[in-house]
Every structure is written in structure tokens, then in C-alpha cells.
Symmetry: C2
Subunit: 204 residues, 2 copies
Amino acid sequence: MARRSGRRPGDSGTREAIRAAAIEQFAERGYDRPSMRSIAQQAGVDPALVSHFFGSKHALFVDVVELPFDPAQAIPALFGGGDREQIGARLAGFLLSVLEEPSARRRVIGLVRAATSEPEAARMVRDLLTREIFAPVVEELRVDDAQLRANLVSSQIVGMVMARYILGLEPLASMAAQDVAAIVGPTLQRYLTEPLDRSGDART
Amino acid sequence: MARRSGRRPGDSGTREAIRAAAIEQFAERGYDRPSMRSIAQQAGVDPALVSHFFGSKHALFVDVVELPFDPAQAIPALFGGGDREQIGARLAGFLLSVLEEPSARRRVIGLVRAATSEPEAARMVRDLLTREIFAPVVEELRVDDAQLRANLVSSQIVGMVMARYILGLEPLASMAAQDVAAIVGPTLQRYLTEPLDRSGDART
């Protein structure tokens, strides 16, 4: 197989060694404590190579905890086009189908584990969600309370990952993905577009 | 203070030493690997004392991961009395007020952490939820799909714990508890008592 010019033999091995070291250090020590240097050291490479391949610690983090889909593609497709009354159903269907794929599911479970493991990891995951998911959702939604609505949707999605894939609650864990999506869709729809009662507004 | 007869001096210290060792071993090694003997050894007590105080490893586990409320009291009170149309609001209000209490919140976060840490711990938490929460809820609800409904409610509650208390998503994390309860109540209500679409039933 022809090698692309500009790449040296061993580049992909180096990249993978850096990624493996980063995953381990971020998982064990959170986001703040590992440095480009400590990650390079563990990977057995020159620190300059970490910058060369990933640019910054932040970019390296985003690379190693990458989401199993590209939000920049998925969010405009889900929110921008089609019937606004069906956003919840489209989003639920999309996420459940992503989660049916074993490697995607492993990655999402890894994120949830990281988030529960310690406060620094929780902060990393929160920053990732806010930047990669909430900001574009808020931009697409153009409704009041858009940031809160993104939080609420996340709460139900993370909870579904926990209940169905981590805890394995039955019968939820064994149901067909499209049945789960049909049940969860209206919840996401309400959080995204319907009026949200505060306690002051509650019916008496 | 008068000591109750039948208790020897040092009993409560022994009990606490066993509980502390059990918490550590269950958290680090899951449910299956620790034994009454290994827990006694770490606590520096005779294994017979573990049986004496807790009866069995299972009972010891239930003791150390105890829920921050007594389901045998709370569930009949929430589900049995009052307007059925307001179960979701009552349940959300109850749970959010429990979670406002720091030690209760720590205990619930500990359960979520345990559940995400490894498959064996997830199984323990699932068994605990099924036995202590779902069984009495199913008994009170007397509707179709009661077990699935209990799963769905759990998914939203666990997700809310993650989003508000572990990830700290804003603005959700800073909202007043009763406002969060007012927003989540209708979701719990739908899961508990309203028709649940399967994909075959979905509107076209």
C-alpha cells in the first residue's frame, strides 16, 4: 500500500502511543494534572511530537474522549431540518441507533464512567458537552431557556445510558432500540420545545 | 448516658470498623470478591463478629449502601395516598428535597459511582433497586408495564443526579430544587401512569 508523502514510518504508532498514554493519565489523574510532558514521557516520545500531532492538551483530550458521532454534522441535521414537533423522536431515534453499535456504546459508557469517577473528570465531560453539544443545540433551537433545555435532554440521555446499558435494568435493557426511542422521544420533545413549568407556575 | 443492656462496650466501634472495611472492599473489588472473612480481617475483628452484627454478606452490603430514605415508608406514602394525577410531582418533590440534604446526596452519588465503576457493582445496584424500589412501586402502581415504568423513572432520576449533582450542568445545577421538581414531575408522571408508545404505535 502506498504511503502518503509527508508521513514517516511509525507515525500512526506514535500517535496511538500518545493517545493510549493520554487516556490513561486523564482517566487516572483527571484533566488538570497531566501535562503534555508527562503524557509524552509515558508514551516514550519527545514532547514536541505531542504538540505536532495534537496541537494542545485540550485538543488531545477532545481527541481521546471523542464522541461516537460528529456533533457538527448531526446537530444541524437533527434540529435544522424537518418538523419541529418531531425533534424529540428524531433525536431519540438517532441516539438509540448510535448506542446500538458496540464500539460507540463503549465510548459513551467510558465518558459516563469518567464523569462519575472524580470531580475533575466531571468538569472535563461537562466542558465537552457544553462546547460540543449544548452550544450548537442552543444555536439551532432559538427558544427561551435553550441552555436549560439542553441540560434536561442530557439528563434523560445520560440516565438512559445508565439504566439500559450500565445497570441493565429489565425489561428496558432488552427492549428493541426503536421501542425505547418511541418511549423517550416525547420526553425529549417536551424538554426541547414545550413550556417548562417552574414551581411558581404549577397548577394548584 | 445509660448503655442499653446486652450491648458490650465497643460494639458500636466494632460495627463501624466492619462497615468501613466493607465500604472500602465493595467499592474497590465489587460485590463478589470480598468475603466475610476478608472484611473481618481488614476491620481487625473476628469473622464471627461480622455474622453476629450483619448476618450475611448480602445484608452487610445493603446496610453499607443504604438508601437515604426508607423505601418501605416512602413508597406507600407517595403512591398509595393522594391524587394519582400528581404522583409524578409528589415523587419529584420528594426526591429533590432528599437530594438537597448533603449527606443523602453523597450517599446517592456514591451509589451512582459504584454502579458505573464495574459490572459487578452495577449488578449490586440493579439488585438493590429492583428489590427495594421497583418491587414496591410495581405493587402500588397496578398498571400495565409497571416494571418498565419503574425502569424509566429510574433512568430520569439517575440522569438528574448525574446532570445536576455530578456533572454540575448549568443552569440546572444552580436552580432551586422545587423548580427542578416542577420540570421533572410531568416526565415522571408520564412514565408512571400515561400510555407508553411503542414504535409500532407511533404517529405517522
